[in-house]
């Protein structure tokens, strides 16, 4: 005969409510771990799907994700001749926020070379990939666009030709892929007023300088579109030749070119030790606080339940019940509370994680870790109740 279950049978309504409350708390404990996993996955999503061995960025920066980096797009040609390099490809990455049909679209623009495909969408889940160099885009599902939607960006409209899943920037904003030429244009090409204004300022400056600096004259005739400032990328992706060692090729680029090269592993570490570290500390702190709160609440519930049973406990002691029976009664109820709460947390989490604003990734290791944590919490929380139960004198049953 299980006394714990018999007692809970009497108070199932209140106990169920307690379990639900503990379940909600455990959902939060579990989800904060999942949110951190989501941060890591988001931070590494574009890096992992890029299919590249090296990331070449502006000298001494930690670009293109953790820090701004700019380098001319023809840098790819210089890097292409470094021994050990097989393919180079320009890469653009920046965040934009534009109004669209009454709502704000916030996303990261990823520009890649359609020829090499490096840095492009790894897997298209609907529609197709980009096949023409201009005016096509592949967006992540999270942005809420559908295949066939058109989005005006700068001077042109771009049509959504395909959708990806789980491709986001480190901040959790959905990624939208463009050809790198389009990505450059969206970022740098100004509207007509700004162009006219710029031309007038340049003309004034050159006219003023002409008498003393005739060498600048050709600048006047250069077309605005030829301005090298327009042809910047944020990184050059490198695929190595078979047998080439990433670290050695990166060292070679760092030494001989005015760039900084990171292996994909180093690029990942830049992300994990940068923005994600703060998130890890934040979510970790929340998890610790929530775990303490959960422990206190379970202890409080168990203690209250024990107080309500002091008379029956005294009676059981009087008729000779060993301490093991009393401890078992309290401990089993604590475990029941924790384990039912744990099951509620698993179910609630699985039903709702898709609807959370940021990606929540909870896998079996997280679930098992929480189970171990819950068992520990329950045992610890029951100590207060057990201590109280053991202090009850058998004589309390006689004294009424």
């Amino acid at each position: 005969m299980n006394l714990a279950i018999r007692d809970l049978r009497q108070h199932w309504g209140r106990f169920s409510l307690s379990c639900f409350g503990v379940g909600l708390l455990l959902t939060l404990v579990l989800s904060y771990g999942g949110i951190y996993n989501g941060f890591v996955a988001d931070a590494l999503a574009l890096i992992g799907s890029s299919g590249t061995d090296l990331w070449v960025v502006q000298k001494d920066t930690r670009g293109p994700f953790a820090e701004q980096s700019r380098l001319p797009d023809d840098a790819r040609d210089r890097i292409a001749v470094v021994p050990g390099v097989s393919v180079t490809s320009p890469y653009i990455f920046y965040t934009v926020q534009r109004p669209w049909h009454g709502r704000m679209l916030r996303f990261v623009v990823v520009g890649y070379d359609l020829g090499t495909g490096m840095g492009g969408p790894a897997r298209v889940v609907a529609g197709r990939g980009i096949v023409q160099a201009h005016y096509e885009m592949v967006a992540d599902q999270k942005l809420g666009l559908r295949v066939g939607d058109t989005v005006p960006l700068g001077l042109h409209e771009y049509i959504v030709v395909g959708l990806t899943r789980g491709m986001v920037g480190s901040g959790g904003d959905p990624a939208v892929f463009f050809s790198y030429q389009d990505a450059e244009e969206i970022q740098f090409v100004k509207d007509n007023w700004a162009i006219r204004n710029g031309r007038q300022r340049a003309l004034a400056a050159y006219t003023h300088a002409l008498p003393t600096q005739p060498v600048l004259a050709p600048g006047l005739s250069r077309r605005f579109a030829d301005n090298p400032e327009l042809h910047s990328v944020n990184a050059v992706l490198v695929r190595l030749a078979p047998g080439a060692e990433p670290a050695k090729v990166a060292a070679s680029i760092n030494r001989w070119e005015y760039y900084t090269a990171y292996t994909t592993e180093e690029q990942s570490q830049l992300m994990l030790t940068g923005p994600v570290t703060l998130a890890k500390r934040q979510t970790g702190l929340f998890r610790v606080l929530l775990t303490i709160i959960t422990t206190v609440i379970i202890a409080q519930i168990i203690y209250t339940m024990t107080l309500e049973k002091l008379k029956p406990i005294a009676l059981l002691k009087l008729i000779g019940a060993p301490n093991g029976l009393i401890i078992g009664l309290v401990l089993q109820q604590s475990l029941a509370l924790g384990l039912i709460g744990y099951m509620i947390a698993l179910v609630l989490g699985n039903l709702t994680y898709d609807k959370w604003p940021r990606r929540v990734i909870v896998g079996p290791p997280d679930q098992l870790a929480l189970l171990a944590l819950v068992l520990g919490i329950c045992v610890f929380a029951s100590l207060v109740g057990v201590r109280r139960a053991l202090r009850v004198e058998a004589g309390a049953a006689l004294t009424g």
Binding site: R6, D7, P322, A394, G395, G400
Partner: protein, 232 residues
């Protein structure tokens, strides 16, 4: 044959000028199968005497023997006292004291389970006892669903579960009307005769002591000699 022998038992609560002697040199004996009453006014020390016999409070001095065991043996630990209680004593209280979250049958079963009797044998004993006490049909009801008299019968069934040589009853009829109280007393007499247990019943209700084999009077902590009322 003496099953309970108490010799010069004294219990003093507190110390110094606040000391109160609840029992003073109490001496009494109870035989096997005997129905014994301990009567006295409220605060006379009769419940202290009962709890001392039950091994719940340490006497200040004196000796209590139940069967071959000396209660409060210096070598005994808490678990020894509990083992002694479950093997040798049955308890019945004024307020019935059933475990509220167990059914009538389970209240009897728990006493058996604690003493190591489990499974179908335990269920058989519990059912038999409940039938014997006339509450077999109420076996699956919780205490709150039983009348006062029925609860007291279930408590008696639990007290009898392990066939203890001694049953201690503290004001068992106080919460019952006269008719039900007399019915319970009749039951005690039957148990003493048929089961052979010594029943020690504390009461201040003189109407209920008809038919007791022996009566001890307690006044200001002193126990008078037991009057043997009935030859057996």
């Amino acid at each position: 044959m003496n099953v309970v022998h108490i010799e010069r038992l004294t219990k003093v609560y507190g110390s110094g000028h606040t000391a109160v002697a609840a029992l003073r040199d109490a001496t009494l004996t109870v035989d096997r199968g005997e129905l014994t009453a301990i009567v006295g006014p409220s605060g006379s020390g009769k419940t202290t005497l009962l709890t001392a016999i039950a091994g719940v409070i340490d006497p200040t001095s004196g000796r209590i023997s139940i069967g071959a065991n000396c209660v409060y043996d210096e070598g005994w630990k808490v678990r020894d006292l509990r083992r002694f209680r479950r093997e040798h004593l049955g308890f019945i209280f004024q307020s019935h004291n059933l475990v509220p979250f167990l059914t009538a049958r389970e209240n009897v079963l728990i006493a058996l389970q604690i003493n190591g009797t489990r499974g179908s044998r335990a269920v058989g004993i519990a059912s038999q006892l409940l039938d014997y006490l006339g509450v077999g049909e109420r076996a699956n009801h919780l205490p709150e669903e039983l009348s006062g008299g029925e609860q007291q019968r279930v408590a008696i069934a639990r007290a009898l579960a392990n066939s203890p040589p001694v049953i201690l009853a503290d004001e068992p009829t106080a919460a019952l009307d006269t008719e039900r109280g007399q019915s319970v007393m009749a039951l005690f007499r039957r148990i003493a005769r048929e089961k052979g247990s010594a029943v020690i019943c504390v009461t201040h209700d003189r109407r209920m002591i008809e038919g007791f084999d022996r009566i001890y009077h307690v006044q200001d902590g002193r126990v008078s000699s037991g009057d043997s009322k009935t030859e057996r």
